[in-house]
Structure formats: structure tokens, C-alpha cells
């Protein structure tokens, strides 16, 4: 491959990196007092992983040709399962495992309803979103649970501690998971199954791949990732709130679409989602720090999404 071919192959990624840098420079110019100091970046790194980890799962689901809107409820549900299991058994590890498993089970239900019954995933997961959020609230009676016992435990530092007092551990987890998801999607046999299930399910079946099984597993992976995000958030806040995860739906989707993953399945970018999460995550804090009112946040989200998706679509059509 020569240089021009390489640039063509990676133009989406390069374009996105450019947008990210542009946003950053804009903030540095408008609010140098904030953006030339390190503290604001620590703050980004502590917030964005929650959008980002869910975004990684959403990327996989979109590549497989489906969508999942239930993950925000799964974050809350898994956080609750984690809190209750831990309270019951006294074991943080068991709590985490139960939380992750609860997310995977919801994912499995989503996947089975989509593939075996044949309901469109947007409808299944919309219903599941209400059902899970509702069920969680009923069981918890709408009450928050304090998790003060987490403070000072080694697992707490491992998951959400601050490395060197600066880098939040959850951002490292996000990075590690992004690398894992990338290698699963583009370097593992199962990634091929996901790509082809989303691109052309008939081709996949012809070559002996079970699209049903592939999609169910993808929904389960997303369930577990959403659960992990919810558990991390419980660790960070040391409290479980019945509203946990609410408000992440639109920002997570925005991060993934700004990143350049297509709605149509069969293609996606993990790097894009990674960067998209940071762009979205930096905007809210950045816009306020730049002296604009919070009302501007959504307006600028909108502009950014439309510009980014237009560019991605044009680039895709060209190649």
C-alpha cells in the first residue's frame, strides 16, 4: 500500500481525529484558563468512560445490523444487582460477577426476541428499556442504596481510583476494553461472524455461520459491557441511584455516530467510538467552561453530529 492508499483507508479516522483536535483548540482559545490546565482533562477522563464503555458495546451491536436502546436501564439494573448481591454475601467479587451476569442475561433476552421471534431490535430493546427500568424501580422501591463499604477497598482503587492522583482508573479500563473490542471485531474469528451477519446475513448462513447465535452473543456482550459501566458508576459514586444510566442513551448514540459507525450494519469503527466518546464527553464541561450557558450544549451536539455524519457518509460513498 502506498501513502495515498493508506490515507484513503484511514480517512474516516483521520477526519475524526481532526474534528477532535479542532474542538480542543476551540476550547483552548475560548477558555485558556481552564483548558491549558490538567484538571479539566482529569475530569473528562473520569466521566467519559461511562459513555465510552457502553458505546463500545453499541458499536458491536450496530455492526451486527441491530440496535439496542435498553443499555441505560441495564446499567441501573446491573448496579442494583451488584449492590444487593454484595450486601447479601458480603463479597464485592460476587457482587460484580452477579451484576455482569445480570447484564448478559438481559442481552440474551434481547437477542432471542430479535432473532428467534423476529421482532425488530429497536422495538424489542425499547420495550426492554422500560421493563428493566420499571422492574428495578419496583424492586428497589425507588430507594437509593449507599455503598460506603466500597471506600478504601483495593478493588475500588483498581476500578475507579486515581493513578498518581491524576488519571482515573476507569479511563484505563475504557482503553483496555476498546483494545479488546477492536481485536475481537477485526482480528478474531467471531468478529468476522459479526461483520458478515450485519453485512449480508444470507452470505454468513451460506458459509455455515449461525447469524442467530452470533447476534445473541453480541447482545450479551453489550449487556455485560453496559453492566460493567453501571458497576463502575456505583463504585465511583459509592451509592446506587435508581436513575443510574438515565441520560446516557442519546450521548452514547451520539458518540458512536460521530465516531463513524454506520446504522446499516456490516461496518464500524472502534477507534471512532473511542474518540467520539471523548468529543461528546468534553463538550458538556467544555461549553460551560467556555462561558456559554448549558443550553448551548445540546445545540452544539446537534451541529457536531450532523456535520460528522455528513462527512462520514460522503467519504463512504466516495470509496
Amino acid at each position: 500500500m502506498n501513502v495515498i492508499e493508506r490515507i484513503k483507508t484511514y480517512n474516516t479516522q483521520l477526519g475524526l481525529t481532526f474534528i477532535g483536535l479542532l474542538v480542543l483548540i476551540l476550547f483552548m482559545v475560548t477558555a485558556p484558563g481552564t483548558f491549558l490546565r490538567g484538571r479539566i482533562y482529569s475530569s473528562f477522563l473520569s466521566i467519559t468512560p461511562f459513555i465510552g464503555i457502553a458505546g463500545l458495546g453499541l458499536t458491536l451491536v450496530l455492526v451486527s445490523g441491530e440496535i439496542d436502546l435498553s443499555f441505560t436501564a441495564v446499567m441501573g439494573f446491573a448496579g442494583y444487582v451488584f449492590a444487593v448481591t454484595m450486601g447479601f454475601t458480603g463479597s464485592i467479587i460476587l457482587g460484580i460477577l452477579a451484576g455482569l451476569a445480570s447484564g448478559a442475561v438481559v442481552g440474551m433476552l434481547n437477542g432471542m426476541l430479535v432473532t428467534l421471534i423476529g421482532i425488530p431490535s429497536i422495538v424489542v430493546t425499547l420495550g426492554m428499556q422500560f421493563l428493566i427500568r420499571g422492574a428495578t424501580n419496583i424492586i428497589a422501591a425507588g430507594q437509593a442504596t449507599t455503598l460506603t463499604q466500597l471506600a478504601g477497598t483495593p478493588i475500588h482503587s483498581l476500578l475507579v481510583g486515581e493513578i498518581g492522583g491524576v488519571v482515573p482508573a476507569q479511563s484505563i479500563w475504557f482503553l483496555v476494553l476498546a483494545v479488546l473490542v477492536w481485536s475481537l471485531l477485526f482480528r478474531h474469528k467471531f468478529g468476522d461472524h459479526i461483520l458478515f451477519s450485519g453485512d449480508n446475513p444470507e452470505t454468513a448462513e451460506m458459509m455455515g455461520i449461525s447469524v442467530t447465535r452470533t447476534k445473541i452473543i453480541v447482545f450479551m456482550i453489550f449487556g455485560a459491557l453496559a453492566a460493567f459501566s453501571g458497576i463502575l458508576d456505583s463504585f465511583r459514586l459509592r451509592t446506587w441511584w435508581p436513575t443510574m444510566g438515565q441520560g446516557y442513551l442519546m450521548t452514547t448514540m451520539a458518540a458512536v455516530f460521530i465516531g463513524g459507525t454506520s446504522m446499516f450494519g456490516g461496518e464500524g469503527t472502534v477507534y471512532g467510538t473511542f474518540l467520539g466518546a471523548f468529543i461528546i464527553g468534553s463538550l458538556e464541561a467544555g461549553i460551560v467552561a467556555a462561558g456559554l450557558s448549558g443550553f448551548w450544549t445540546r445545540f452544539i451536539y446537534g451541529i457536531l453530529i450532523l456535520i460528522a455524519v455528513t462527512i462520514h457518509t460522503l467519504l463512504r460513498r466516495q470509496s
Binding site: K189, F196, N200, G208
Partner: protein, 251 residues
């Protein structure tokens, strides 16, 4: 395949078809739309079992309930479907090795191996010169004939003894059709067999050794290439296709 029947609910697609493919033979399977060509091909390639009848591969009887696409591959039967054969947005190397990827530990892909083998398949089996097309190209950048070529090359690479082609020349330009017919001749030259399914007689006549004509779920006729001209074959197909349906239903 012996006495193959296939019913979908109340619809009878095949009613007692006998079908044999010999060694190193190209068979043209001809018939109008709805004659049962695709159904027969799907049974042969392991996509679904026949309602009734027996299948033998290399003299060995197949348990129809245990027969699958994967098993057909293992027994050397590969099908090339137009449009359905390849994932349009994926790189060529992913398409060639889908379902049979070379892997290292824990199921991770051996990408180097897959790419270099794809390059070899393209040059050796298919005569791609390497201009503008590489193993990293996506299928959507290839012409229709080249896409068929990749699917046929994949089948040859995996040592298929019998390659089934379903309407491989549909919607292709004249030049592209020539390429596909060359690919089929290459299959024969490599000592393999081919079932060529189509209702475009001109192409099928050119490369086939024998013809089997299906009509309304039955074998209407079998002919050797030497026995008739292209025009006679066309006339025969037209004759069957335009025969009134009622004749078939009368006791």
C-alpha cells in the same frame, strides 16, 4: 440424488427428481423460473433437507437430517450464489476465508496468512493482475464478473470437487460474462465438476457437457451436448415452459 421430493407446506417444488453429476463434468441445469432449479440446488448444497428421496456423495449415502452447508463443504461441494456469495462491505481476504479462517491461538485470525493466500488465489486461479485490486479491497469495488471470480476462486482453493453456480451471469456485461465462462472452463481444466444453473441458454450451452432440463418440479429431459444445437436446446426449453399447467395436473 434419487427421487427427490420437496414440499413447502402445500406447495410442491420437486416431485421425484433424479440427478447425477459425474467426475470432471459440467452440467447445465436448465428450466424456467419456478421449475425447481433453486430448490434442487439448495438441497444439494445442504441448505435444507428434501421431504423425500436419497442423496449420495461419492457413492456414500447421506443422512438428510444430518446434512448441512458445513458438511457439504467437507465433502467437497461448494455453492456460488450470485449476490449472496460475498459480503459487499468486507475485504476480499475476509470473504475468501469466511467460516474457514486460518487462526492462531484462541481463535485470533492469522491476517498475514489470509492476505497472502488471497493474493495467491487471485493471481493463480483467477488471473487478476494486481492492478487496482488487492486482498484489502472491499467487494463493493469489484465488477460483477470479478465478484463471481472471487467466489469461484474460493471454492477452488478449498478443494471443492463440485462447484454449483446459480445464475452466475445475471446482470453482467458481455465482457464480464466472458470472464465468468473462463472461470468455469478453469474449473473443468482443474479436473473438477460443476453444476451450472441458469435460464440463459447461450452461456450454458457454451461451457456445459450435458444438460438437464427441469420443468414444474420434474426432469423433463436429459441431453448430451453432441446431440443437439443451441437453437434446439432453446426450442426444447420454450416448449416445456409454455406447456399449459393443466396438462400437468390431469390424472
Amino acid at each position: 440424488m434419487k427421487n427427490i421430493h420437496k414440499r413447502f407446506g402445500g406447495v410442491v417444488a420437486l416431485r421425484g427428481v433424479d440427478f447425477t453429476v459425474g467426475d470432471n463434468e459440467v452440467i447445465g441445469l436448465i428450466g424456467d423460473n419456478g421449475a425447481g432449479k433453486s430448490t434442487l440446488q439448495k438441497i444439494l448444497s445442504g441448505l435444507y433437507p428434501p421431504t423425500e428421496g436419497e442423496i449420495f456423495v461419492k457413492g456414500e449415502k447421506i443422512d438428510p437430517n444430518n446434512y448441512s452447508v458445513r458438511q457439504a463443504h467437507e465433502m467437497g461441494i461448494e455453492t456460488v450464489f450470485q449476490e449472496k456469495a460475498l459480503g459487499q462491505k468486507q475485504a476480499l481476504w475476509r470473504n475468501i476465508f469466511l467460516g474457514r479462517q486460518p487462526t492462531t491461538k484462541f481463535g485470533y485470525l492469522d491476517v498475514e496468512e489470509a492476505k497472502s493466500e488471497t493474493d495467491r488465489i487471485m493471481k493463480q486461479f483467477l488471473g487478476f493482475t494486481g492492478e487496482g485490486v488487492s486482498p484489502d479491497s472491499t467487494v463493493s469495488t469489484l465488477s460483477g464478473g470479478e465478484r463471481q471470480g472471487i467466489a469461484i476462486g474460493r471454492a477452488m482453493y478449498f478443494e471443492a470437487d463440485l462447484i454449483i453456480l446459480d445464475e452466475p451471469t445475471n446482470a453482467l456485461s458481455v465482457k464480464e460474462i466472458g470472464k465468468v465462462l473462463d472461470f468455469i472452463r478453469e474449473v473443468k481444466r482443474q479436473g473438477k465438476s460443476c453444476v451450472y444453473i441458469s435460464h440463459t441458454i447461450a452461456h450454458i450451452y457454451e461451457v456445459s457437457d450435458r444438460f438437464v432440463i427441469l420443468d414444474k418440479g420434474k426432469v423433463a429431459d436429459r441431453r448430451e451436448k453432441g446431440e443437439l444445437t443451441e437453437q434446439e436446446l432453446i426450442d426444447e426449453l420454450t416448449h416445456h415452459a409454455t406447456r399449459p399447467e393443466t396438462e400437468e395436473r390431469s390424472p
